[in-house]
């Protein structure tokens, strides 16, 4: 049982860290705002969710579990809302996704 929990913890934490770093690289490397939202989305939901799920297995069932689940709930609710609101606000203020590759190069920061 301990081995199983250990393996599960490692698996969840490592995959969570992987997705977090991938999203971080995405937010820096991707060329324009709407594609950067992808990176933000990955770290804020998948990375955070997997890391907190990994932490859940570290502790017995107690108040700590409840608090972790609350944090997970808040993160899962607020991060996609923020992403959506940002995208929508950007659209209404006149930013459009850049679709062509050659216009992308001229738009680069």
């Amino acid at each position: 049982m301990m081995v199983l929990i250990s393996i599960l913890t490692w698996l969840l934490l490592l995959s969570g860290s992987f997705f977090a770093v991938v999203g971080g690289i995405g937010i820096v490397r991707l060329p324009e705002f709407f594609s950067r939202l992808h990176g933000g989305g990955i770290t804020d939901t998948l990375g955070a969710g997997l890391i907190i799920a990994g932490l859940l297995f570290q502790e017995d069932l107690s108040l700590v579990t409840v608090k972790l689940l609350m944090i997970l709930f808040f993160l899962m609710v607020t991060s996609p809302t923020s992403c959506h609101a940002l995208a929508r606000s950007a659209m209404t203020q006149g930013f459009k996704p850049v679709l062509e590759v050659d216009t992308l190069d001229s738009n680069k920061n």
Partner: protein
């Protein structure tokens, strides 16, 4: 924020939890991190979030400015009144040991004197901080931009 229906719905969902968390911080402050000041700020943050999303008139209905103005003084009065009550019961100012209630305390209807005093004092701090923060937000949000 009328053009953000999702934010409106999520705010409606979150505000009860923020208030509940504020209560937890207020009353659990003797046992874990937190206390009156932090709880007051969290309460004010919930009110401000409501004001940001639903507009100033809506939050004025929930917490009328006149009530908020009186609450600022009330919190301080609760704090000082606790000290005064200690003096009336025969102790020094803010000496909570005299707040012990004999039978009530022994049967755990009321906590120990020190515990009760800290509870009341933190309550006073919480009320004042909530009211002051909300009032500052009202004062800022109620004005218009200085046009030059």
């Amino acid at each position: 924020m009328n053009s953000f229906p999702i934010i409106r719905v999520i705010t409606k969902l979150l505000i009860p939890y923020i208030l509940l968390f504020g209560l937890y911080v207020q009353f659990h402050g003797d046992f874990g991190p937190g206390g009156g000041f932090q709880a007051g700020v969290i309460f004010a943050a919930a009110l401000i979030l409501y004001g940001l999303v639903y507009g100033l008139p809506a939050v004025h209905k929930v917490a009328p400015p006149k009530v908020i103005e009186k609450l600022t003084a009330l919190g301080l009065l609760v704090y000082a009144g606790t000290g005064l009550a200690c003096m009336l019961l025969g102790g020094n100012f803010l000496d909570y040991d005299v707040l012990n209630h004999g039978i009530l305390t022994e049967n755990h209807f009321l906590p120990e004197g020190q515990h009760l005093g800290i509870f009341l004092v933190e309550l006073g701090v919480g009320i004042t901080v909530t009211a002051v923060m909300t009032m500052i937000f009202y004062a800022f949000a109620g004005r218009e931009r200085v046009t030059s």
